[in-house]
Amino acid sequence: MKKKLTLAAALTAATVLSGAASAKTFVYCSEGSPEGFDPGLYTAGTTFDAAAHTVYNRLLEFKPGTTETEPGLAESWEISDDGLEYTFKLRPGVKFQTTDFFTPTRDLNADDVIFSFERQLKADHPWHQYVAGAAWEYFNGMGFPDLIESIEKVDDMTVRFKLKQKEAPFLANVAMPFASIVSKEYADKLEADGQMQTLNQQPLGTGPFEFVAYQTDAVIRYRAHDDYWGGKQKIDDLVFAITTDASVRYQKLKAGECHLMPFPNAADVAEMKADPNLKVMEQEGLNVAYLAYNTTQEPFDKVEVRKALNMAINKEAIVDAVFQGQATPAKNPIPPTMWSYNEAIEDDAYDPEAAKKMLEEAGVSNLSMKVWAMPVARPYMLNARRAAELIQSDFEKIGVKVEIVTYEWAEYLDRSKAKDRDGAVMLGWTGDNGDPDNFLHTLLGCDAVGGNNRAQWCNEEFNDLVLKAKAATDQAERTKLYEQAQEVFKREAPWATLDHSLSVVPMRKEVEGFHQSPLGDFAFEGVDLVE
């Protein structure tokens, strides 16, 4: 394998030299190193940007810039009347990449799709443990092992998934990076050569860019896939220059060493906007930060108490202090970029006086409570400690004493799940698949109590609505159910919804055709450089 790599590298070097004048190279200053190149094995966005959105495609794809799905490798699909069978018709003539390390002899077919899912599903599959401790974390996290009854090859170009129960988000789930379709032919060859690990180091798929080389922790190189089914890309080469520090990324962008960067420092954004060489895209991220009361414990089992506390929190102040304005106060548990977001809901107004009165009327006095603050910066909450301090002083104004507690991150996640833990836990969520079920059912459903449901909140009315929406396949019907669920949520107030952070993407002004993804992906299909 080493020899092949060297050859590949030498070839590319030659093309860079000879064709440098006309080649269009797009440089992305990425924020970290990918963990590997098999999207099925990982859960980090950084890895998906490098592995999934470049090299691979999925059966369905997210329409650029939205959370809606569109046909990808599946040209069309049918759902049986009972909602348990999904039959995907594959797009004909889809070519795999021809690279220095592998030359495919056939187009995409049903075997590739079945292979891609079964290796994650079946414990006795030869590829299930091809790297030690492969956990297929996302596949399991999205509940696929309990959902998929079987995957059948109807004919060469048709695949049928049988599910054990109705699951409307299934279509969005198969558009997620972990469901990327890998080449069975390539995998077979690696298996025959005893080089299975290579699948995680030299990926080969049907996507817009083909993998050239990865220099550990430094640079990833891709080339446009000549026979891409969606049309050859306008840029010839795509380069990820790994730059972990946000200030340094900004300097590189300014110096023209890269064309686009993720995750700027909030403090730099104003300066970026003023720079004539740059342009800045902004959008609410698919996330929410919240403070979850333990609704099973005194006095937080009373709606009035939770409401009163919510009214005492000055969210604007948090957004200003923690995000320098790069966030919006949240009123719903789902972000505004997600379909079914209930615009009509009115947030509890910030009103310490009224809150204090409400607390008195509820018969609560001399309340002292714990507020948990995460020890790490998360996309939805850059500085939990600071936010907790603001909440502490807000609560003090209505006579509630707050003790801020924190633990090491893994410990924090673990302890905060406990049903009998005290106080209010600050946490948040970044969406996986753009489906409201992924927030409302995952975080607030009854079966998530003791797990993701940190408020330990099981409300029958709410739970019925989200379960009904999960089983319904009609989008309009689902939208209505989720809108109602948000009303119940607001009325019952198991959380104080804090903020949705903005995702800010600065780029050189010559960059065209980049779509900011509400899912937080950085995908470069369709980008161009226009002088």
Binding site: V131, G141, D245, V248, Y407, W429
Partner: protein
Amino acid sequence: MAVSLGINLQPPEIEPAMLRFILGRLAVLIPTFIGVSIIAFAFIRILPGDPVMLMSGERVMAPERYEQISRQLGYDRPLPVQYFDYLTDVLSGDFGNSIVTRRPVLDDFLTLFPATLELSLCAMFLAILIGIPAGVFAAIKRGSAFDQTIMGTALVGYSMPIFWWGLLLIILFSGTLGWTPVSGRISLLYFFPPVTGFMLIDSLLSGQAGAFKSALSHLILPSIVLGTIPLAVIARQTRSAMLEVLSEDYVRTARAKGLSPFRVIGIHALRNALIPVITTIGLQVGVMLAGAILTETIFSWPGIGKWMVDSVFKRDYPVIQSGLLIIAGVIMLVNLAVDLLYGLINPRIRH
């Protein structure tokens, strides 16, 4: 025997005393190595935070899956068993696989270490090249404004927070003036397979025009940043060692017999003053590896410092414990080399 001043440049015949000295030093390495392996192994496990739990983040992992993964990774076994297996593996040359990238730890180390070594050597070169002359001149002009300035600057350099210093230089030289590239090891235009892992050498071997110059320009700022603290330490150490030597009788004798000031200071005094300076330089290797963590992070330098930090955040046990062990091994070997060199220079040590 004539008064032998300075270093004996004859190839050393290994005399029994020297041999005993070398063997003695080597024997000390073995318990040190085992000690380090225990500390590295225990240290990360004492730290709160569980690698399996961190894999799922906010997403809650079912207890059965948690147990299954822990079992696959072998973390459900008693700690002494884990340690003993680990030590056995290491002694047979297997440093384990990263639980994040799944690649062998040794492979990643060998890929990344040349980058750190190249940067450290350049930084050290810079520190010695400037530090020793600065220290010598400060000693000669003791108490003068020149001395005060040099020592003041050295103190500032020694106290400089690396991260801030690096950013400052980037903003000035790369941002405002545009003289140096911001980060990385070489311009993205150049792409060739690594042969030695040292970019300066590989760029020459590649035969691509301008590649060497590009690699060199990428080294300037990180070398300055990483070299600042050792430079300050070396300058101060040279100065005080020089001051001590300059008051020795033999220096007065040398002056009295009419040798030029250059010979007195440059040959007779400096050679002896260098003995403690070499020790200091050896000790700075450890300091450098610590500094490399920050320098590499800020300059996106793909070396072992950045690699270790990332693994700590991910609680990547195999990488942390083996990485620490390998790095400690390197430092131990450097110190051994310094000890031997020292023994060579100063016969009193080995007797």
